[in-house]
């Protein structure tokens, strides 16, 4: 086995695993970062979305051998502080995008939420604004079954600064 070196949430890591192991499994099992979820294993639902060198990808479709030297960002890297294991983070520890989801009701069961946040994060980092159609396109690879997407779009528009989808 080769050791693959990359960063996760700005922290350098090194993993000794088969190169064809899915980045999703490396994150969840080898690095104990279970925030990224598996919904389908076939790149359809986006629950496993992480940022790879800033671009949203489905971690279930990325073999770790292709991550060497790259920067991976997961939902655990969004908040100001890593949540303590025994106490949930307080609302004040959330980043503005997470805080917007909380206020607007963008998360119900929460299973799509980590992937959704990463897709939204990439959209906002690329300069995305409160335009409703653009937001819908940005999250088109993230399936949600609970919310109808309405409050997710509101939350992302809120985080984009204007408060109301255009």
């Amino acid at each position: 086995m080769t050791a693959y070196r990359f960063t996760v949430n700005a922290t350098p890591v090194e993993v000794d695993v088969p190169g064809m192991r899915r980045l999703l499994d490396v994150l969840r099992e080898d690095l104990a970062l279970t925030g990224t979820k598996e919904g389908c294993g076939e790149g359809e639902c986006g629950a496993c979305t992480v940022l790879l060198d800033g671009a949203p990808v489905d971690a279930c479709l990325v073999p770790v051998c292709q991550v060497a030297g790259s920067a991976v960002r997961t939902v655990e890297g969004l908040a100001a502080e890593s949540p303590a294991l025994d106490a949930p983070p307080s609302p004040r520890e959330l980043d503005p995008l997470q805080a917007a989801f909380l206020t607007a009701g963008g998360a119900q069961c929460g299973i799509c939420t980590p992937g959704m946040l990463m897709a939204a994060r990439a959209y906002l980092d690329a300069g995305g604004g409160p335009d409703e159609e653009a937001i819908r396109e940005a999250i088109a690879g993230n399936l949600c079954r609970c919310t109808g997407y309405t409050k997710i779009i509101e939350a992302i528009a809120l985080a984009a600064g204007s408060g109301r989808p255009a």
Partner: protein
């Protein structure tokens, strides 16, 4: 839980060719580009997973978009996102840009590649009809050197390509055609993240200056075991102006030459009728009536 077959990540083409061939007794290797097709195969539910993998992602020789002579040249590892953002593609290959925008969504577009789409050879591959309609050529490489295969010879049978087992797609050459018009239409199962029921690319030129279509190319996916050119319909459109009569005849001809199937996504009759109607609409829009 997916399998994790052994993989090598060559740093240059020579290493890649050697890895593809492997040692005597090695099981056949499958190359992986962005992984959007191959990684799903690892679950073993969609046929046998690969036993040995060659990771192409580190081969920068397979990247880049440039102009060479009269063609846009795209490295095999060009992603759909790169195609969409490329000024060269937007200017010269708008049909390909449109096709790239209909594939998956952001996550898939960031990883799926033009070479992977071609090599996977799905009858529903969305860029494949565009390659056919634009007379694209695939430049293939192996330890034995390079060769070029035209798109309309690249997919000889269901999920098969013209690639030898020790060959890789290096790049795609898409010739310019000044004055060429291209139309693309995908009828999918939903508005994103969808496999097509019918996908069509239509190209023509106004070669004679009087509005009659010349150099007509009509390519479709999801209506046959491979992406196809609708030769009989092309013949009907060739030399004709986009009038209602032309549209009617072309639609009838297309419906007559297609042999689609029923499958989990759609019915044979839907595909046949919709392909004809989509073509009829494209001719109508071009004719402005």
């Amino acid at each position: 839980m997916p399998v994790e077959p052994p993989v090598v990540s060559p740093r240059d083409l020579a290493e890649a060719y050697a890895a593809l061939s492997g040692e005597p007794g090695d099981p056949p290797a499958r190359p992986i580009a962005g992984g959007t097709d191959l990684m799903v195969a690892l679950t073993g539910e969609l046929g046998e997973p690969p036993e040995r993998v060659v990771d192409l992602w580190g081969l920068d020789a397979l990247r880049g978009i440039s102009i060479d002579g009269g063609a846009v040249v795209l490295g095999a590892l060009t992603t759909y996102t790169e195609i969409r953002r490329s000024a060269l593609c937007r200017e010269h290959l708008p049909g390909l840009v449109e096709a790239a925008a209909t594939i998956g969504a952001a996550q898939i577009q960031n990883r799926g590649t033009i070479g992977g789409n071609a090599a996977n050879a799905s009858p529903a591959g969305d860029t494949l009809p565009v390659m056919l309609a634009l007379d694209a050529e695939f430049v293939l490489g192996s330890a034995r050197g390079e060769r070029t295969v035209a798109a309309n010879e690249f997919w000889p049978a269901y999920r098969r390509t013209a690639l030898e087992p020790d060959e890789l797609i290096l790049r795609v050459r898409v010739p310019f055609a000044p004055g060429r018009e291209v139309r693309f239409r995908k009828v999918g199962t939903r508005r994103a993240q969808s496999i097509s029921k019918v996908v069509m690319a239509l190209a023509w030129r106004d070669g004679t200056g009087d509005g009659a279509w010349t150099s007509v190319r009509l390519a479709l996916g999801s209506v046959a075991p491979t992406p196809i050119r609708a030769a009989a319909t092309e013949a009907v459109l060739e030399g004709r102006q986009p009038t209602p009569e032309t549209a009617d005849l072309a639609a009838e001809t297309l419906a007559g030459e297609l042999r689609p199937i029923d499958d989990v996504r759609s019915t044979a009759e839907y595909r046949r009728v919709v392909a004809a109607r989509v073509l009829h609409r494209l001719v109508r829009e071009a004719g402005g009536w």
